[in-house]
Point group: C2
Chain length 438, copies 2
């Protein structure tokens, strides 16, 4: 397989049905009966050197072993066939995940730890890369995020089925975003409820206030706000599956008089509110829509209203990992802290508070990973092995990215620039524990 063919097979149209969400590469003529050529071994050595010589051993299809050039190996990567080797070398960013999903690349050692080691090693090495290599590494084209593409992007991921997410998300309010481990020993359920409480406190909610939520997932925050703070919520989402769950759950909790779940794009939000909140949607908004988002928040927020955006972010502008963007989250782009602030500048907002919950997301993901691993048989029964491996890779890679510092989690609180009804300090966030008792 030459490089141009590899590129061609690596970027097909996304399938739309949930059953076929993770791409399966065509596998044919794998040549597993021959030994590695010397140039193939040279390519792997070269790739590892480029990646900063991480402590990784390669075990090839015929049990040929390539030890790391320096130090002891802590992980072993098995490659099942010569084509796997060549795809990996040609486009490591994308092929690593695809080969792992296909079962043609397997790992001895903790997957998340291997990924963290690779992230840290590449990050350090990259500072010495020539410019062309750096450019090549980041060269991929994320999906557009216009109104209709956004529907497709969101459908791709969030409409996988409530049954699937219920297998491994918390059973308190089905939160698929970073939890808040106020204390290290919190359970996933406690930490997710603590997150909702922390957000409500940052918004300084009072009974009777009105809130608009952009991208409400399964509607857990809206229900928490209605239940604990007696506020009225308009919650927007374009995922049908999630909304069906959200509505049923609000009814069951007898909160439907306080919550309106709206199936519409956030760009169509109407009205003015005391609070604007969005948890884990900004990653899917796309930079080109920041001016529109800023204008939207500007017109949706009352003069003394408070807005909060909670999003995965970066320390510096960087494209989403190619594999995650293509196979898991089409259209995703986590803004750098500077780009995040551009939204606030565009809206002439005053930033009151930024909190970084990076390691909280690593812990959240570890909790998800534990549960996911325990339910893999059921996941495979719902989809197939390929899907299960892809999601294992996605969760492990995400743990690694947050631990290595290549992803951040920012909660940003802001108001209109001329609003002087501000809290005196941030004490009110810490007066009582945010998490419920176990």
């Amino acid at each position: 397989m030459n490089q141009s063919t590899a590129h061609k097979t690596d970027t097909p149209e996304q399938p739309a049905s949930p059953q076929a969400h993770v791409l399966k590469l065509p596998i044919e003529n794998l040549q597993v009966d021959r030994g590695p050529r010397s140039y193939e071994i040279w390519l792997v050595t070269k790739l590892m050197r480029m990646a900063g010589s991480p402590p990784v051993r390669f075990n090839l299809w015929n049990n040929n072993v390539i030890e790391p050039e320096q130090g002891e190996a802590r992980f072993t990567i098995h490659l099942a066939d010569p084509k796997a080797l060549r795809s990996l070398v040609a486009n490591p960013n994308l092929a690593f995940g695809d080969l792992y999903s296909a079962g043609r690349l397997t790992v001895e050692g903790d997957l998340a730890e291997l990924m963290e080691t690779l992230y840290r090693s590449v990050h350090r090495a990259r500072q010495r890369w020539p410019r062309w290599l750096d450019a090549l590494w980041r060269n991929h084209n994320p999906r557009p995020t216009g109104v209709s593409e956004a529907r497709e992007n969101i459908h791709h991921h969030y409409d996988l089925g409530n049954e699937f997410y219920r297998l491994w998300l918390d059973n308190a309010e089905m939160q698929y975003t970073c939890a808040y481990y106020e204390r290290e020993d919190l359970s996933l359920e406690q930490a997710q409820l603590a997150k909702l409480e922390h957000v409500c406190r940052k918004l300084r909610l009072r009974p009777g206030m009105t809130v608009v939520e952009a991208g409400c997932g399964w509607g857990g925050l809206a229900r928490y706000m209605a239940r604990h703070y007696g506020v009225k919520v308009h919650a927007y989402n374009i995922s049908k599956e999630q909304l069906a769950y959200a509505r049923a759950e609000a009814e069951r909790q007898q909160l439907d008089h306080l919550i309106e779940y709206v199936e519409d794009d956030y760009r169509n939000i109407q009205g003015q509110y005391d609070a604007f909140v969005s948890i884990g949607m900004l990653e899917h908004v796309g930079k080109e829509n920041y001016p529109a988002l800023a204008a939207l928040i500007r017109r949706s927020l009352k003069p003394d209203g408070i807005a909060l955006l909670h999003s995965i972010g970066r320390n510096r502008p960087m494209l989403m990992n190619a594999w995650i963007e293509k196979r898991i989250f089409p259209g995703a782009y986590p803004p750098s802290i500077g780009e995040f602030m551009e939204i606030c500048e565009l809206g002439d907002f005053s930033v009151l508070d930024v909190e970084n919950l990076r390691l909280h997301y690593a812990r959240t993901l570890s909790h998800w990973m534990d549960r996911f691993t325990a339910r893999e048989t059921e996941v495979t029964a719902l989809y197939d092995q390929h899907f299960t491996r892809a999601w294992r890779m996605y969760l492990a890679g995400s743990i690694a990215a947050f631990r290595a510092g290549s992803l951040q989690l920012f909660q940003v609180v802001f108001t209109h620039g001329d609003n002087n009804r501000l809290p005196q300090n941030r004490q009110h966030l810490y007066t009582f524990p945010a998490a419920p008792e176990a």
Copy 2:
């Protein structure tokens, strides 16, 4: 006086001696014996319309009165001569302060309130200005901030004399930066000590740690850290007057074994530290030096060190008010929140915490203003009437700018991007009151 002459006389070289810091405009041929021409009245009306029709009446030298076009006047501005009127119209940003300092423009009503009203009104009106007007309004050239210019800029303001600042700053640790009014009823002294405590908590200081401070003023933070946290501090400053005070005070408090006050530019900081802190220096650094500042912090901070920058800032990029930049703070440029974050991006830092203390600075300035007003006779005895009026204008204008939201005060905490030794949450900032008992 035509416009080009006005520009010429408005931008002379800055005098270097403290006694002549505030520029005195030449006053000759004031023509106070004639009535206003109709085009002069038209110009004032036009200026007020451009400024968004604030509730301001003009009382001219011969008692001609120009009422606001809409609504009731809440303030009266007296103009003492026709040239004052024309300078004001030609370059309101600069002339307002200069004329006030010269006593040719006087105000009936609270000066800070008038300024706040004008800031808010202009800010609103400006959104409808044509582009050329907007460009004209911001067209001035701030002073450069290279190593030698920085010395001159800092000397201009901070070497006015410790005697002068002692008249109206707090008598706890002579802080000339925003205090932290943890509670609304704190005294200036309590709030300044609370600020120092709040900063120490953000840095998570422990006994035996090492700290480097860039721009240490009269050395109060360094002494507080040594006294209350038992850390070793290298504190840099290029103001001789301030350093003389700082050293004497450290000796008096028997803290000189823990503190080294270094008379040098922050760019020459040597060594690696557990904490990097800078309170109120970034405003004087200049945007062109942000890459160097980021590189400096990067090399000065240990792998698990914490950095804190405390600075006046903006919601959007904007030049410093021309009068303040020319007459009071040469070279000053408060970064927008986005520009602030650029420093962190340039250093590959991870932003952990941003807090905005905007209204705390308005209150700090009000406390300073009260004390300044009570000591005006002494200030005038040290300098002269012109100086006293200029500083009154500067303090009032600053109160107004923070109240109207045209200035912000950001405290930004960050670490190296790959540092995982982070606090679990921000609870430690709020466990006990930061302010001492009254």
